[in-house]
Symmetry: C2
Subunit: 404 residues, 2 copies
């Protein structure tokens, strides 16, 4: 008898009919002889509706109160799912994050899970129940409700799977799996039957919206296999795990892209110790999340410093950076808000020369100019014009023969 953790996203439980569909899938898993723990997100747009309500009553809603408010969305969906299962004749029980023992720090709206005290979950499983846990939420040691922020319910599911020693964490949404590229851009893109944690993490971080990096990281840390599949069909999905065979590892597995890139360049920065800190500390204090940072080689002790942010954060970033640029004697401060990025990802990369060259050639043959390049062990990213992103994804998919 295996223990399986399943997680269903908001679109999968958006109405009564979909909840019944999800219930049938859960029953099928249970009837194969498994113990099943299910983590659910809030129904459809519930969370957005609750945020709207909060903004109607308060100009700046209290984070503590907002967390309690938002946590009700997952409680509603978890109880409805438990009712549905019981109504279908199966033993089931819903548990809030607190009841499921999801203990977090008290960073409201983006709490981190500290520990899972899974006694109650285990007891309910032993009683023969399908256990439905409200995702996205936890409780502090002061018994206050917290929410986990972006990727929260996925994180709940993977963390529970780790705490319970589950065989697999199955994560169902309206997406059928992880593809070699976005199928809306590359129609011949293939679903990957499996992918390693590191590659999936790079994919998620560099533009794939399939899954938030946080839960993938946790899965990798505890070695929990994560199946990414759709609750609307019976296709096999993509298994994220650590046991990918050498041969599969040794290639580019997928192309990621992101349309949301803006660039700030501080031109003619005197190359002195502490200059970078003097720029990026105020940005961090202003809550601006800086992505790529590139500093050109210094000539005559004068350098150019470039960094990227999301487009929405560009005005705030410029406001922070302009006075600093002046004060350190930089020549000027320029920005470009019409950029995107394209990345090739594959664990084989660092051992196999020629990937970078192949990527740059493919882009140049298509007339795509590369503005910035950054790399990790298993990824090469080029920042290019936003208007060229789709072309870039297509040409790279072809160049690395991912349709095969």
């Amino acid at each position: 008898m295996a223990l399986i953790v399943q997680k269903y996203g908001g679109t999968s439980v958006a109405d009564a009919e979909r909840i019944r569909n999800v219930a049938s899938r859960i029953v099928a898993t249970k009837e194969k002889g498994n113990q099943v723990v299910v983590v659910v997100s809030a129904m459809g747009d519930t969370t957005d509706d609750l945020i709207k309500l909060a903004n109607q009553v308060a100009s700046k809603p209290s984070e503590r109160e907002l967390d309690v408010l938002l946590s009700t969305g997952e409680i509603v969906s978890s109880t409805l799912l438990a009712m549905t299962l019981k109504d279908m004749g199966h033993e089931a029980i819903s548990l809030s994050g607190a009841q499921a023992g999801i203990q977090t720090d008290s960073a409201y709206s983006s709490a981190r899970i500290l520990k899972i005290e899974a006694k109650r979950v285990i007891k309910e499983l032993e009683n023969g129940n399908i256990v439905i846990v409200a995702g996205f939420q936890g409780i502090t040691d002061g018994m206050d409700t917290t929410t986990l922020g972006r990727g929260g319910s996925d994180t709940t599911a993977v963390a529970l799977a780790a705490a319970l020693g589950a065989e697999v964490c199955e994560r169902y949404t309206d997406v059928e799996g992880v593809y070699t590229a976005d199928p809306r851009i590359v129609p011949e893109a293939l679903r990957l039957p499996e992918i390693g944690y590191e590659e999936m993490l790079e994919l998620a971080t560099y533009g794939s919206k399939v899954m938030h990096p946080r839960a993938i990281e946790l899965g990798g840390l505890y070695g929990i296999p994560i199946l990414v599949a759709s609750s609307f069909c019976d296709k096999p999905g993509t298994l994220i795990h650590g046991g990918i065979s050498m041969e599969i590892r040794n290639k580019v597995s997928s192309i990621a892209h992101d349309f949301d890139v803006a660039k700030v360049t501080i031109v003619g920065v005197p190359d002195r110790v502490g200059i970078a800190a003097g720029i990026f500390e105020p940005l961090a204090q202003a809550g601006i999340s800086v992505d790529t940072i590139v500093q050109n080689a210094s000539v005559d002790n004068i350098t150019d410093l470039t960094f990227t942010v999301s487009k929405s954060q560009l005005p705030a970033a410029m406001e922070v950076v302009k006075p600093i640029a002046r004060s350190i004697g930089a020549r000027e401060c320029v920005s470009d808000s019409k950029l995107g990025k394209v990345s090739i990802i594959g664990t084989g990369m660092q051992n196999t020369p020629g990937y970078a060259a192949k990527m740059f050639r493919a882009l140049s043959e298509k007339g795509i100019n590369i503005q910035l390049i950054t790399t990790s062990e298993i990824r090469i990213t080029c920042i290019i014009q936003e208007a060229k992103v789709k072309d870039a994804v297509r040409v790279l998919h072809q160049a690395f023969e991912l349709e095969k």
Copy 2:
């Protein structure tokens, strides 16, 4: 510095504007130098909407799950109110029933409060907070959420007031107070500035919809004064308390009525020991709530037995009673579903002769036939034709000079 518990009903917090209005009232109370604990109901139709959702997914929703589901309604309103207060610059915190220490038995959907462990509430008050408690809910010793059933949030408020030793429990809805009769029937009806617990209890039980009997009973038990007033105006309301002066006590204070009465008469019942039990036990087992029971004096060991139920329960009651009537050799079983009742209520009644006679005369002069009469120490109730109820209320209001 006094401690005041305020309770706001669902219509009082139905939208953002009303929540802000309620927040202003709370702030005014706080700024008079009081500590304030607020109990809220769910916004507007939330509870009905949640029940609808439950019925969409399950033919017979699990009671445990339904309680968790419904409890979210009050959590939503309590957090929104706390946010609003904080946004207005006042320290406030919302607490769920569990956090407020409302410990109940595990009778889902109609749990009884066993004990209130008010440590957290007291701590938050000492920290200078306005404490907003989600009404209608509690927690079992197994840490499962329960709801308190009808009159639940009022009960939460009065029980908290008792546990905290509050000076008063102020209960705000869209009703301006307790009247000498329903002002929709008797336009000249007067608001009672005060009323005793026993009278209010009879009023509530015998037709006034102003407040559920349960919370009034609890208020009487612990001697908590309850102010019934409207959150939509600044009228003074009605204070329910135990210190009503003798002179005010010694009269009829109010006329109650109820349109929802159906009558079952079992005609020609052999008058043997155990017959009544043989009829009313099966009714109770079928979940039928019997109101008035009248047994006529026995002649030749044959009696007629009449009882009343709500109209909606009449078919079920007849189904239970008919076979019993046959089996005990009763002559027949008849029903009337077009009845109502009218009651005069006043603590002076038992010491002052003539009230009953005055009531019966007033009704007869208006041509209203009395079908059944029942009395308590402070109440006389007549069951009459439903179509005559309004006339009866008016004529009694006049006869007892309640407009003065």
